[in-house]
């Protein structure tokens, strides 16, 4: 059982069609959620390590502008947005997936990023500028792999046809943009309201 827990994600990324089918219908959901959170955590760690420890030839990050908390947000927020947008859309478009399914399938699709990028953090310290081509190549591989897994995951979870899956993915991305806009609007309004209240408070305090 224990060795199954860490072997299964690797099985899934190598055999996505079978893997996602199992994930939806056969696997223990609680275990999958735990694995998903572990993957998210590892991805956040990879992200932070990348900007801190990657080799100089591939990594030009202003140390003053780096913020680990923001790096975590850069991982968590897009995943969250994706899941919410995808769930909102697929409930309207007769998708069969529950929110949990969407979340776990998305997280499992992110594994290539971790297993490809994490070793490269160490390796990038030992390459020269000419060899950075390999670095960029492998990160594009990770990207393509991740997109493919997302596609298969979506298709399996919602039991869609391939063309419908592609349509949903495009719509999901549009919905994510919409959500980002709404949250920006929301936060800016809240900020203005708070500013207004604080100004009134100051006025009262200064006049009394």
């Amino acid at each position: 059982m224990n060795s199954e827990l860490y072997k299964y994600p690797f099985y899934l990324i190598m055999h996505p069609f079978n893997g996602y089918w199992e994930l939806k219908y056969d696997r223990n959901q609680k275990a999958s959620i735990v694995i998903s959170f572990v993957i998210l955590f590892l991805l956040a760690v990879t992200n932070i390590m990348q900007s801190q420890y990657s080799g100089f030839v591939v990594n030009l990050v202003n140390p003053n502008g780096m913020n680990s908390f923001m790096e975590i947000l850069y991982v968590v927020v897009p995943v969250l947005f994706w899941c919410v947008a995808n769930w909102s859309l697929t409930t309207l478009m007769d998708g069969e997936g529950k929110f949990v399914d969407i979340f776990t399938s998305t997280c499992f699709a992110l594994i290539p990023f971790v297993i490809i990028q994490l070793p490269w953090i160490l390796l990038s310290n030992f390459i020269s500028l000419q060899e950075t081509a390999f670095y960029h190549f492998s990160s594009s591989i990770a990207m393509i792999w991740c997109v493919f897994l997302l596609f298969v995951g979506n298709m399996t979870v919602h039991q869609y046809t391939p063309s419908k899956t592609i349509g949903t993915i495009i719509l999901t991305i549009a919905a994510m943009g919409f959500m980002a806009f709404l949250s920006l609007l929301f936060f800016s309004l809240i900020q203005q309201m708070l500013a207004f209240i604080s100004v009134i408070y100051q006025e009262l305090v200064l006049r009394s």
Binding site: V57, L60, N64, G65, S128, L129, Q130
Partner: protein, 487 residues
């Protein structure tokens, strides 16, 4: 108990002392900074820098003993440090020596038997043989005088099918190369500089500016009709704002458009300016929206490819080395010594800078501080390829200004030459120079691998043997395991 409390107090006291002394150190460092001088870091932040140049004296018409200057517009300094000053409002050329004492004055010349005066001349140039070229704008011609102020020739409005029909020749700036080719910057000419041969015949245009336009504008232009299009702004290249020529005969030109404001032109008119610096060598990269970007009005090329540009918007002089690294800035607009009202021209006498102010009719002399001198010498040594010398001088400059990031790359290159690759990597990293770092790293990697070749090979062989042994062992054991599961 009491002892413990005393100990804490002692610790607290020590900590307090440390904190206070830290604060004091900070204030001392701050007092040494110069508010006016700055540099841009790799990240585009403005960082403080010591002043490289300080204004030392101010000269106007009275103090030079030639009567008030009226809207002077150009300066030129010859190799033997004679200063040629073009006093536009008084229609004269004033020649001064290095001490700003009058040598002679040129107010008129004999043309076709008649004595003629300059009329609103805007630019002048002096060749190495002390032949004087004046862009006599009001008379619509370029006047060429020899070293005895005798007229050699006059370049009148040229005739060529390259020119539009009602062509008004208004030369504003003039420059002559070693082959006596004359380059004229004329008002209202968008096709680049006008090039004349040694006989004063117009040959061609050189180095037209590229046209920059936004895609949106282009899109609307594509959609609009012919009639609408004729109402719109045309995509014409902008005029140049000034030019200078270096010892090798390359033209340096400035203009004031969106980008690509400093250009180094080769004989074909192509831009060959090196832009290896962190930002394009075009003055300020940070500015208030209200002030607008840098507006360049003059450029001066010194030895070792060092060049300086003059920003009329904020009265600042920016100096760059041949690679396009930002060296230092000085000047400003204001009423103090070292500040200007309408700076128009910039020249160098040796290492000193002369800035001509048109509205006030004054010349400000800037002399280098120790920091400026060291930096100039370091850049020179580096340009000459004297790595040893450059290394020590760059070390001295970064001791005076640790924020001067490109100096670290200079040291790194010297260290590569000396074979200290590991150390060189550190310096390249300091200056955010990935190319240099990579070069040093490759050499360093080779060096390390060569040194530890035996150890590495032994280790690898050992690993292979261990792996083989493990495999054999597992096969032996694993066979049984598989069998037991199948049972």
């Amino acid at each position: 108990m009491l002892k413990g409390r005393l100990q804490t107090k002692v610790y607290l006291f020590i900590a307090l002392c440390c904190l206070i002394s830290m604060g004091m150190g900070g204030t001392i460092a701050k007092a040494a900074e110069d508010a006016g001088s700055y540099n841009y870091s790799f990240w585009g932040d403005t960082v403080a820098a010591p002043a490289a140049y300080k204004a030392t004296s101010l000269w106007n018409g009275e103090s030079m003993g030639i009567g008030p200057l009226k809207e002077p517009s150009d300066l030129h300094v010859t190799a033997d440090k004679q200063i040629y000053l073009l006093d536009t409002g008084n229609n004269r050329v004033v020649i001064l020596n290095q001490q700003f004492e009058l040598v002679r004055m040129i107010t008129s010349y004999v043309h076709e038997g008649k004595e003629e005066m300059f009329q609103n001349p805007q630019g002048l140039f002096v060749t190495d043989e002390k032949q004087l070229f004046v862009a006599d704008t009001g008379n619509q011609r370029v006047v060429h005088l020899d070293q005895d102020d005798k007229l050699v020739k006059v370049i009148e409005s040229p005739e060529s099918e390259l020119l539009q029909d009602p062509f008004k020749f208004e030369p504003v700036r003039v420059v002559v190369d070693k082959a006596q080719r004359i380059y004229v910057m004329a008002a209202g000419v968008f096709d680049g500089f006008m090039e004349f041969n040694a006989n004063g015949e117009f040959t061609s245009f050189i180095g037209a500016n590229r046209v920059f336009f936004s895609p949106v504008e282009y899109f609307w232009k594509m959609l609009s009709t012919q009639a609408q299009r004729s109402q719109m702004v045309m995509f014409t290249p902008t005029e140049f704002s000034n030019l200078d020529i270096n010892d090798e005969g390359f033209l340096y030109a400035t203009n004031s458009q969106m980008q690509n404001n400093v250009r180094k032109l080769n004989a074909r008119g192509g831009d060959i300016l090196r832009e290896e610096g962190y930002f394009p060598p075009e003055g300020d990269i940070r500015f208030m929206k209200a002030d607008g970007p840098t507006r360049l009005v003059d450029i001066d090329v010194a030895d070792s490819e060092i060049y300086a540009i003059l920003d009329a918007n904020r009265g600042r002089i920016f100096t760059y080395n041949g690679d396009g690294h930002f060296m230092y800035v000085f000047g400003g607009l204001g009423n103090q010594l070292g500040e200007f009202h309408t700076p128009v021209a910039l020249e160098r006498v040796g290492d000193d800078y002369l800035i001509l102010d048109k509205a006030l009719g004054e010349i400000t002399v800037f002399q280098s501080t120790e920091y400026g001198r060291t930096l100039n010498e370091a850049v020179r040594a580096y340009y000459k390829g004297d790595e040893e010398q450059a290394n020590t001088l760059f070390h001295q400059t970064i001791n005076m200004n640790a924020n001067l990031e490109f100096a670290y790359a200079g040291i790194g290159k010297a260290l590569i030459r000396q074979g200290d690759y590991g150390e060189a990597m550190k310096y390249f990293k300091q200056s955010m120079d990935q190319k240099g770092y990579s070069k040093a790293f490759l050499l360093y990697r080779k060096q390390v691998l060569r040194e530890h070749f035996t150890a590495i090979m032994t280790g690898m062989l050992g690993l292979v043997i261990v792996a083989l042994l493990i495999k054999k062992y597992r096969k032996k054991k694993g066979g049984r395991q598989v069998a037991s599961i199948e049972q």
